[in-house]
Symmetry: C2
Amino acid sequence: MTRHYNFCAGPAALPAVVLERARDEMLDYRGQGLSVMEMSHRSEGYIAIAEQAEADLRELLAIPANYKVLFTQGGATLQFAAVPFNLLGPGGTPNFLNTGIWSQKAIDEALHLGGAAHIAASSENSGHSAVPRPADIRLTDDAAYLHYTPNETIGGLAFDYVPEAYQPDGKEVPLVGDLSSTILSGPLDVSRFGVIYAGAQKNIGPAGLVVVIVRDDLLDRARADIPSLFSYQALARSGSMLNTPATYSWYLAGLVFQWLKHDIGGLAAMDAINERKAAKLYAAIDESGLYANPVALRNRSRMNVPFVLADQHLDAPFLAEAEAAGLLNLKGHRSVGGMRASLYNAVPEQAVDALVDFMADFEKRRG
Amino acid sequence: MTRHYNFCAGPAALPAVVLERARDEMLDYRGQGLSVMEMSHRSEGYIAIAEQAEADLRELLAIPANYKVLFTQGGATLQFAAVPFNLLGPGGTPNFLNTGIWSQKAIDEALHLGGAAHIAASSENSGHSAVPRPADIRLTDDAAYLHYTPNETIGGLAFDYVPEAYQPDGKEVPLVGDLSSTILSGPLDVSRFGVIYAGAQKNIGPAGLVVVIVRDDLLDRARADIPSLFSYQALARSGSMLNTPATYSWYLAGLVFQWLKHDIGGLAAMDAINERKAAKLYAAIDESGLYANPVALRNRSRMNVPFVLADQHLDAPFLAEAEAAGLLNLKGHRSVGGMRASLYNAVPEQAVDALVDFMADFEKRRG
């Protein structure tokens, strides 16, 4: 068996100990005589798994008691639609911060569903290389919520602050965050948010699961015609079992939470590791003559590090040699090209060390 | 390691050889150095897995070329909403056959989304113990489609025919089937349907995946305000990769399709096995003085066999003793009580033999 270093932007690397546990429990979950995949979601055995996962996530993120945690399906893309359906019942305009491709997708979906969408601030003028400053954010009088993407996985652009959201008259509006690519990468003040959602396939578990964290007072703002499976209220009331949930993915997420608690030692420890990983890679880029990253220093993503080579003709050999060296999935997103190393939680520090060594060696030989 | 017999209605038993394969490939998929869970859905390696799964499903079901096969998320419950969004763009009334709890859920969701819903025929008067006959089905002049549930998993009620759907003026309307609990249990004439959808967690794979089979000419009937992830058109155009799909579940579905092809020998062979399994269990019920099933003979489900004990006080000991004997998940749905044995594809004939023996022994001792 070989395990390579995997810098995939998502579905991303998972901790080897999680996969080993899943492997060992595949045919017979702890003597119960069946796989987790084969358990009724309403069975005692499965409910214990589901509740433990929620409890561990609540503990890791210190989620306040007035927030519901939902385990649902459809990824962040479904939430692009679910958020307006859940929050626009009383009317008002959704406000957005536009910092790149993923923010734009959320905006497009809100418009597509037939509503308006106000861009409260945008980094478009900077080519999405620096996020708007707090003073640049201007909400509408009727802002129903402010949606933003703390980390843009394609641009590698990250907010260095959590925005405050007020209507011009000073009324606070709920902040909605697509935390798919940053959740669990470090401590988080959940109380700053009205709604957090996160596709699982970066820092939580396998693709097909999405976690939603929603403040209780926002559960009754849905449009009357909301599809049932979008409804935070319906999901909350049913313990995320309005229908059969993605049971196996939920179980794997629980194993990842256990790994974060017991193997890593919690989110402060994870934060320190992620800080070191990113610092090493950005230092290697900045100190080289071959590699470059265009993002403003304070907005550089710790999770996704895009970089270009000074000579595009070296892209193909760089990727081929990296792969031969066991460094997988370094190709940048098809919409922007170049390289991208995603350094999610499960990417070990040794992977970054190996990448940095490879980059230096490649530059020496080919740069 | 112990493997018990699992009669769960869903998430249901999976073939042991599929789980063994998944276990062996968990950390390193065929020498590629990573788990399938960790692969980019756009990587060559993963695309090969996804395409093979679709090809095998097409072969098994002999799906005509003018049908798209989609692998998406949210279960049948999401499809209850997705179907009206996809088919009611040009207007018209959705028509339904009501044969029990799952048909009713589809009807409720269509109404909830703000439309009308016409009940073209219902088995309610029979207490859902016999399906309407073909001559009883009356569609509206403006029927946009006819939706039905060929097998009701809770009532154990199955259609013994595929309905024909015509408006009163003779115009054919698309037939939509929720085949969650019967797909792949035997050969199927896909050409009779406009849309087939099936939650994976019975005969396809793990919960969280849903397969949709849709005729090409129905791809352009969507409402303008359809959420993107509901859109058959958008899913078809993107090869079910509008966003990150449930990659691992899709892979497991592919392993199940391989098992059906190579271990079972195709759907005709599967059909014969399922026929024998159901015949044995119904015979045991009908020949006993303790057990009873209320469904009309011609509408008895092969997949879900509900039965009651003549004395309800025996329910608890029956379940406890069955579980102790390694016969799991025989409790009936919480809405109806009694017992239910689900005999999906992955439940081996030996499991039914063991159940029948246990039932006879229990009756002798306690009946």
